[in-house]
């Protein structure tokens, strides 16, 4: 069930009329948002979903604006999603990666950011392997900083797109039972989703082996389960996290096959969830490790493709509102 929208595909004026000014200078953390703001962002993103399904997808909300994608970690979907979002809104988009920049020559993150900042970009989208990297940049540059993932800390646009996927599938988010399963310890996706979903009134469970759970995770306002079958019982949404395969080396888990047996999602375990349960995954998937292909590819239960589509729309909403704030100044 999809949330009601204006009939027909929205035109530029329609979306422009709905665009509002983001209340913060930067988009860093799901914890900075509030339920009303999230609702407005998701409504706006719904409009962009419809727009993106049209032949002409372009709007000029960001015309003349420059967006720099600064990705220190390899990323396919997030980077291309921000790139498409920027381009569809009419911005000039530049992609930077460490291989092609002076980071490889020993320049520090802040130096790189300050250098890029001097080129007068309007929005800097950053992904970095260290927690707090986006917040550090936000303190050092004058443009808007968008956190596209910082270490094991936050990935707020992912949480927004996950929320939008759920809202479109169930018509609501509050009251849903969402089981976030797998490597919560190292997951920025899990942290942002816990923050956002609990804020919106969802019942959140985290499920995984104790070695992949953060310290005192029970105090995050979630239920903690170590048994997947119990953890997903009756859940409306089963969100599987990617298992970094190098985790095997640190004695966090013994093997892929044991992980799949105990914490991997297959049809049999999914039967324990709610009959209408939907399966999500932030990607990229390790098929046969955290999720069985049989489940991942079943369009009747899997929202994984929807998540990717929502990703572009949500990022358009984030960029459009940040730009609206710039226009107002």
């Amino acid at each position: 069930m999809t949330r009601p929208m204006a009939p027909g595909a929205p035109g530029a004026d329609d979306v422009r009329a709905r665009t509002f000014s983001f209340p913060h200078r930067h988009f860093l953390s799901a914890a900075d948002l509030d339920p009303v703001l999230v609702g407005d962002l998701l409504d706006l993103a719904d409009g962009f979903v419809a727009l993106n399904r049209q032949q002409t997808k372009k709007l000029d909300l960001l015309k003349g604006r420059t967006l720099i994608n600064l990705f220190f970690e390899a990323s396919t979907r997030t980077q291309s999603s921000f790139e498409l979002a920027g381009k569809r809104l009419g911005a000039d988009v530049v992609n930077m990666s460490p291989r092609s920049s002076s980071i490889a020559k020993g320049e520090t993150l802040v130096d790189t950011a300050v250098t890029l900042n001097a080129m007068q970009p309007d929005i800097l989208v950053i992904r970095h392997g260290s927690s707090g990297a986006a917040s550090l940049l936000a303190q050092k540059v004058s443009c808007c900083v968008v956190n596209a993932g910082d270490g094991a800390h936050e990935h707020p646009s992912q949480a927004l797109l996950d929320t939008l996927s759920m809202r479109r599938a169930f018509g609501r988010v509050g009251g849903l039972t969402v089981a976030i399963c797998g490597d919560v310890l190292h997951s920025r996706v899990a942290r942002s989703n816990v923050a956002l979903l609990t804020m919106l009134g969802a019942h959140v469970r985290v499920v995984g082996p104790p070695t992949l759970m953060p310290c005192d995770v029970g105090r995050w306002g979630v239920e903690v389960h170590h048994d997947l079958k119990v953890g997903i019982a009756g859940a409306d949404v089963v969100m599987m996290l990617r298992l970094q395969l190098e985790r095997m080396e640190g004695a966090l888990i013994p093997s892929k096959r044991e992980y799949f047996r105990l914490w991997g999602l297959d049809r049999e375990k999914l039967a324990l969830a709610s009959p209408d349960a939907r399966v999500m995954h932030p990607g990229p998937m390790n098929r046969g490790v955290e999720i069985d292909s049989d489940v991942a590819d079943d369009l009747a239960v899997s929202l994984i493709q929807d998540q990717v589509e929502m990703g572009v729309a949500v990022r358009m909403a984030v960029l459009a509102t940040l730009a609206a704030r710039l226009d107002n100044r």
Partner: protein, 431 residues
């Protein structure tokens, strides 16, 4: 030429040796403390004596800081021995013990000798090297502990790199103990702390920082206590930081084992929440702990369970600190803020002044066998005069260290050093 004698009158004397805390006057002459009285002044003073009216300010032995890193040799842009010595003098610190993790490492008598010669040339405060316990701090082969002692090293330590191999640690303790050399060791299980940059807690979990449990410290303290019992050697626990290892320490001391412990002023002042939004100036080794741990540490200082307070001065320039938290260098400068930060514990009523002064003067002096740290006739005239009530807003840029990584930046403290004497020479005087 010996410096002009100085008489301090109308002071508040705190002598950690006798426990005296009261009015008094003192003469420093010929590099030594000449006369001490509990009267406000002296009856007749010769005209060649400079008279300083202390006006009730604290006069105590100069501070002795057992844990100071400089960048010399090897990382002079961070801090030189000279800049560290100037910072020390401005902080009322008259003796510093230089950590061996320089480049090259102080694991050889020649490097120790280099440090001592540089310090003599600088002529500000006393600088004593600490020697590496193992060659290159690698934790494998024992360094030349005997030769380094002869060269002037006051204790041996593996600095920030704990000795993982228990057999090596046992032999270092036994060998150094036999020579009468104090061994300092940082209690941290190297595997539990590997890659960590914060204490394990709900807070660090939310920040997504790699963390170490307090158990990493407890495990290593317990191992070291067992090895002290085995070898009978003296051990200085280098920076205890949490409540659980304090319990281990209390049991060991209760058994009469020859163990002393230090705590850093940072861990007595801050807790993990001071990291806030990834503030790298609060990234320390060991990491800042919970508030309950900090409170336990203050209590342990008051009771004497923690013997010594150190600044854990560790300069790091902006290029090493202005990085994402996990990648930033650990450590904080502290020589100039040690005394005012310590005084906070007195002003807030947690630890009596005399006990605080003891922990930064007589206790460290005794640990490494110095005759300083006292206000007795004949003792070295290493002195600090301090207005303990003067309010200060700490401005890191105004501190004298070459690196400005002070977690106290922007904090309001009370206590201003007015004058510092080393061997009777004025090495610092407030303008």
């Amino acid at each position: 030429m010996s410096p002009r004698p100085i008489a301090f009158t109308g002071a508040r004397l705190v002598d950690p040796e006798t426990g005296y805390d009261g009015p008094g006057a003192l003469i420093a002459s010929g590099g030594r403390i000449g006369e001490v009285t509990h009267e406000a002044g002296f009856d007749a003073l010769s005209s060649d004596i400079r008279i300083v009216d202390a006006a009730g300010a604290l006069l105590c032995p100069g501070l002795i800081d057992l844990r100071v890193k400089t960048g010399e040799p090897g990382s002079e842009p961070k801090e030189t021995l000279k800049s560290a010595a100037r910072a020390a003098a401005a902080g009322g610190v008259t003796s510093i013990v230089d950590q061996p993790d320089t480049d090259p490492t102080i694991d050889d008598p020649a490097v120790a000798d280099f440090i001592l010669r540089r310090a003599r040339d600088i002529e500000l405060v006393h600088v004593y090297p600490a020697g590496a316990a193992t060659k290159g701090l690698k934790g494998v082969g024992m360094a030349e502990i005997g030769l380094m002692r002869e060269a002037g090293c006051v204790y041996v330590t593996n600095a920030d790199r704990p000795i993982a191999d228990s057999r090596v640690m046992r032999r270092v303790l036994a060998y150094a103990g036999g020579l009468g050399v104090l061994v300092a060791h940082r209690p941290a299980d190297p595997w539990l702390t590997d890659g960590a940059c914060a204490t394990e807690s709900e807070f660090s979990g939310r920040l997504g920082l790699a963390s170490e449990p307090v158990a990493a410290e407890t495990i290593m303290i317990e191992r070291d206590i067992a090895l002290v019992a085995l070898t009978g050697a003296r051990l200085m626990v280098d920076q205890v930081s949490a409540a659980a290892p304090l319990e281990s320490l209390a049991r060991a001391k209760g058994r009469g084992l020859p163990i002393i412990a230090t705590a850093s002023i940072n861990h007595l002042t801050f807790n993990e929440l001071d990291i806030g939004d990834y503030r790298t100036f609060c990234k320390l080794i060991p990491p800042l702990r919970a508030e309950a741990d900090r409170a336990a540490l203050v209590e342990a200082l008051a009771s004497g369970l923690v013997d010594i307070v150190v600044s854990a001065h560790a300069p790091a320039p902006p290029e090493d600190k202005r990085l994402p938290y996990g990648e930033a260098a650990p450590g904080a400068i502290g020589l100039e803020t040690l005394l005012p930060a310590l005084l906070t514990l007195c002003h807030e009523g947690h630890v009596p002044l005399a006990r605080l002064i003891h922990a930064v003067t007589l206790a460290p002096a005794r640990a490494i066998g110095l005759s300083a740290g006292r206000l007795a006739a004949g003792a070295p005239a290493d002195l600090a005069l301090c207005d303990i009530h003067a309010p200060r807003l700490i401005d890191a840029d105004a501190l004298l260290s070459k690196s400005k990584n002070s977690p106290f930046d922007g904090r309001r403290l009370q206590g201003r050093v007015l004058m510092t004497l080393v061997d009777g020479r004025v090495v610092f005087e407030a303008g």
